[in-house]
Amino acid sequence: MAKFLQVKNLSAGYKFNNVTVQAVRNVSFDLKEGEFLGIAGESGCGKSTLAFAITRTLLSPGKIFGGQILINGKDILSLKEEEVRKIRWKEFSIVFQASMNVLNPVMKIKEQMYDAIIYHGHEYGKNLKKRAEELFEFVNISPKYLDAYPHQLSGGMKQRVVIAIALALNPKLIVMDEPTTALDVVVQRRILQEVDRLRKTFGFAVIFITHDLSLLVEISDTLAIMYAGEIIEKANSREIFSNPLHPYTFGLMNSFPPLMGKRKRLHGIAGHPPDLSKQIKGCSFFERCSKRINGKCDVIEPKLVEIERGHFVACNLYAKCYKESTEYGIRASN
């Protein structure tokens, strides 16, 4: 399948008066058409910043420091604001974390849906009502709610409305940033099922961002683990689950107590992530890593390299990561 999205060496973050936070550091990945990519990581690992950056909705004080984001081979970072505005929602849409609050409380839901269509001069604009009803059917909401205001809907329904709006122009990619975190488990599960069904019907790709790794393992094709602004491991979900290569991924997998089976003591990962406003030397996970190699991991920054087929990892335990990064000469001299 064709590569729809290519992210190359993307760095982004926030610039305050005298502090620069490097929230996304040198991230690269590809996304095929119709692929379901899960990005997992803890709070502050840069996953939301990545979502904003990919859709170019990172607002001041957020900034993209460098890299490329190619959509169908075209770098959207080089486009002018108005040009981006035009392709936004047509090519890709985004569903936010705080979906409860993303609907304008004083506008009818249908107006907010129509807006997304009208301002892109789309063919659906000819028959707004029909399109809106169709979209509501996709997400299992009665079309009578088109005339409602957001406060008349429950949390789960609002989330579906937002997904319906995201589908409005048949985008090829939907970026979902913790879209179900605030919802109850049952509602969350149902919405995820629907997203999956819609994806199979319409063939759009999904980038699904969450801290809930156990959920992602179940629903996504490919899984990328982020830590301290970098992707440290990426592979097929099942592969990562059964064979995590990075010590952090391993720790994270073991941080979720299994629902069933015998109860036994598990341990989380001690410590906390590094301060992203400071320069990080060597591996960003060094401080918390149980398998760290002193004198190596605190000096050399490992590179994300394919270790097994389709399984990428950035860890100095694997000679290839270590070698590749010295090949490029990154901080090897430090």
């Binding site: 709070s43 488990v185 049952v186 969350q188 599960r189 156990s214 941080s255």
Partner: protein, 328 residues
Amino acid sequence: MESELQIENGTVEVMRVKKLKKIFVIGTIKKKYIHAVNGVDLDVKQQEVVALVGESGSGKTTMARIISRLYVPTSGEIYLDQKKLPRKMRKSELLKYRKKVQMIFQDPFSSLNPLYPVKYAVERPIKVHKLARKDEIEDRISELFEECGLTPANQFLKRYPYELSGGQRQRVGIARALATKPELILADEPTSMLDVSIRLDIMNLMLDLKEKEGVSYLFITHDLAGAHYVADRIAIMYAGHIMEVGPSDEVINDPKHPYTQLLKRAAPKPEAGLEPEKVDVGGEVPDLANLPIGCPFEPRCLFAKPECKEKLPDMVKVGKDHFVRCVL
């Protein structure tokens, strides 16, 4: 039926609530009655962790607030150490109660006063309850900090909450709850706002303290897996009622109530198999201002029978310490 709930395994009961109800009244002219807790019977034994699991709006947080005396229950009884609490407590009685029942909060960011160094949070209960001599207060605080994994204590005492990570703040919250040497700690979703990698450590800390200090917990959560991890018994709450209560392993591995079964299906469990289970139950938590007369879960229940509409099912014993509120 109540007698069936009585002590069976001989351990000492710390807390028991009987027929606990809480109705909130909203509005002045047109009144609206929100039935948050609708007659709950529950007990916690010494050194036991009871998890109260439910979705938002199930009344689990209200339960914690009633037991912590932030709310006065509309009706029902609360027993501490088998002694019934008076509805209105005198100041000195309340103070004694507070010493025995403490709480850990959900949000470690808002549960510490940002204006004071974290030491303040732990110092206050010691001072209020006069738990240490003046010259020993400092030592006691350090001891509590270290007990909760904030070592070395003097590195943390003078820091402000914003200088600590979420996990560290939650440890301070636990140290505060522990300061009065309570018998029961109410933990209101203590890990849900924390990063996944440190949740286990906080739960482990709580379990260690249970062993060391002999404290009991009422662990409130929406996460079935987490409940299974920490709790000896699990109580499933729905619309202000307890639907099922029993030993953790039994409730998880052999859930009896359709709602418990639904929760189990919805919970992620990558260890189980490849294909996630389908959840086909619709609907949402019922409106607490107009609850049905019958079983509150009836409208969503796949196995509902006509009689479910008419009357709230009784608690039925299905195993040792295992009860379920269902006609099935």
